[in-house]
């Protein structure tokens, strides 16, 4: 049971209703390449926001975990070019890929369990870049630079996965499920202990909670979420290459989460949407060659001016206007 106030339920229901009805108004390009893309990358950013806000870990390994799931599903996909030795139907490959990402998340958690803040950032970044370099140099499994192509996804009710409506609704379904999963988990005893550990690990340990195990479990859960994102991203890109999980992809997910705001799970999707819109339309603003400068400047401006992102900015704005007084004071670890 997810406990929310009536207003929050209404807001959520209204949001979902709007998203459900978007195909009525929007052309396919917006459905798939803007909203669909923002939602699948938003799921990966969500896994980072979950760890950052409720666990206090700004992990840069989330793109890598999405990549683990993406490579896993690509190796097992029946349509893969080149076909892997373990080809199996999608309905078996997808859960196994998400499982692989969950296990990989637990392993990242075990490696990083004794570190925090800045050290955690460095170690997870090193792991992420290392994994993409490994995928790039390994031919036997990862197919080197070329990656694995033609991962078109399963047919759903006789329709190809890449049909705009199918992709959009699946992406929406996964994004909403993961969003609600995060909101649910942080109110379970596990989620509450996780937040207690974030606030003071010594006190939580003194009460008798096993701090390390909770941290590892939170990384595994984040791996599960990122894994779903990774599978969908691989379907969206019709394949996977090492560069799609490299340093820039890792930084892009961090940018999405930070721009949107690390203070609330919704921030991940807001940030992903802003990033996607800018990535798509930057060409008409400053020429697509300088997209990185634009996104870098926006990112820098957000970090300098509003460290809790667009979400935090909006919250302060509404508080200042006085329509919605702030009920809770969020503890910001990121600022």
């Amino acid at each position: 049971m997810i406990m929310m106030t009536t207003r929050q339920w209404l807001a959520t229901a209204a949001g979902v209703a709007i998203l459900l009805s978007l195909p009525l108004f929007l052309p396919n390009f917006w459905l798939v390449n803007i909203f669909g893309r923002a939602m699948v990358y938003g799921v990966v950013a969500l896994s980072l926001t979950f760890l950052a806000h409720y666990g206090g870990f700004v992990s840069l390994a989330q793109t890598m975990l999405a990549g683990v799931a993406g490579y896993a599903v690509a190796m097992m996909a029946p349509t893969a070019i080149p076909l892997g030795p373990m080809a199996m139907p999608y309905y078996a490959a997808i859960p196994l890929a998400v499982l692989a990402a969950t296990i990989a998340g637990a392993i990242v958690g075990m490696i990083a369990v004794n570190t925090r803040e800045i050290y955690l950032l460095m170690i997870t970044l090193a792991l992420a870049v290392g994994f993409s370099l490994f995928a790039q140099s390994n031919i036997t499994w990862f197919r080197g630079y070329e990656g694995i192509r033609n991962i078109v996804g399963p047919e759903i009710m006789g329709l190809p996965f890449r049909a705009p409506l199918v992709f959009y609704y699946v992406a929406l379904g996964v994004a909403v499920s993961m969003f609600l999963l995060v909101l649910y988990v942080v109110r379970t005893p596990f989620g509450l202990v996780l937040q207690a550990i974030r606030d003071s690990d010594r006190r939580a340990a003194a009460i008798g909670y096993y701090v390390g195990l909770h941290r590892i479990a939170s990384f595994a859960l984040a791996g599960f979420i990122a894994g779903w994102g990774g599978v969908l991203i691989t379907f969206y890109n019709i394949g996977i290459t090492p560069s799609s999980i490299g340093l820039w992809a890792t930084v892009a997910v961090l940018i999405m989460a930070v721009i949107g705001g690390l203070g609330h799970p919704l921030g991940a999707f807001i940030g992903a949407l802003i990033y996607t819109v800018m990535d798509t339309f930057a060409s008409s603003i400053i020429g697509h060659d300088r997209f990185n400068t634009l996104i870098g400047v926006v990112f820098l401006a957000i970090v300098l001016l509003s460290p809790d992102g667009v979400w935090g900015f909006g919250k302060r704005l509404t508080a200042a206007v006085g329509k919605a007084p702030q009920r809770t004071v969020d503890r910001e670890k990121t600022s």
């Binding site: 700004v58 490696i111 990083a112 004794n114 570190t115 803040e117 800045i118 050290y119 950032l121 460095m122 170690i123 970044l125 090193a126 792991l127 870049v129 290392g130 370099l133 490994f134 140099s137 390994n138 031919i139 036997t140 490299g246 340093l247 820039w248 930084v251 961090l254 930070v258 060659d289 300088r290 990185n292 400068t293 996104i295 870098g296 400047v297 990112f299 820098l300 970090v303 300098l304 460290p307 670890k333 990121t334 600022s335």
Partner: protein, 297 residues
Amino acid sequence: MSLQFILTVTLNGLTLAALYFIVASGFSLIFGLMRTVNMAHGSLYMVGAYVGFAVYDPLYASDVWASHAWLIGVVAGILAAALVGLLMQVVLLGWMQGQELRQALVTIGLSIIIADQLLFLFGGNPFRFFTPELLFGPTELPVIGRYPIFRLFQVVLAIAVGIGLWLLLNKTKLGIVVRAGVDDRQMLAACGVNVPLVAATVFALGAALAGLGGVIGATAQPMALGVDARFLLMSLVVVIVGGMGSIGGTALGALLIGLAEQWGQVLFPTYSVILTFVIMATVLAVWPQGLLGRKPT
């Protein structure tokens, strides 16, 4: 596997470790005093290489300056990186001192902008410095045989940088101030030391080392876009393994990683990256502070 082969691979590892040490010592120096994780350190490496080359290239083509072109390129690369580093610290990072995560995010943003602007200003073509006359060509070594002089020079330079940093930190007034700042910044400021000035100096020095590494690295191997990621990764791993903020630890980490990379490529070519990360994970599991890092008090 002959003795000659073993020694050659080991020497290759040593020369690589030398380059890693020069770059990572700057990273470690900045981290040691200011707790700033400079995610733009790889970008400073690129700034050094690109600006150095922009100065070097026309000089090399001219008749008068050709013989000094490389040295001038080195100086230009060092100065450019130091200047960019100084600006980063003074304009952006200085006033958010203590907010480590925010500083890391700021430097990530800067690294994106710097990489893109370098691409815009200098184009994406790979380039390489020609080795200066004095350091050009192979030399005869016992057992190993012919070996490039420049790679040996890298080791000499790294040792010089190491000794220089040691002298600076242990034998000068600035060194005393820096070491005091590592222990307790507030107390240092209360003693009347201009801490922001010291911080800016140290940041410029750390950035200068990245710039020096950039020119040296672009002389040893062709330089192309994307090396910022590699050298940032390498700096991170070296200081994580060696221990943050310790020059000795950085040297030890660079040695381990340099040797592991070269031997890994010989023994299991496509899995050599894994070896680096196995070392990192093992060190973290046993010594969370790195091999020579201090325990937080």
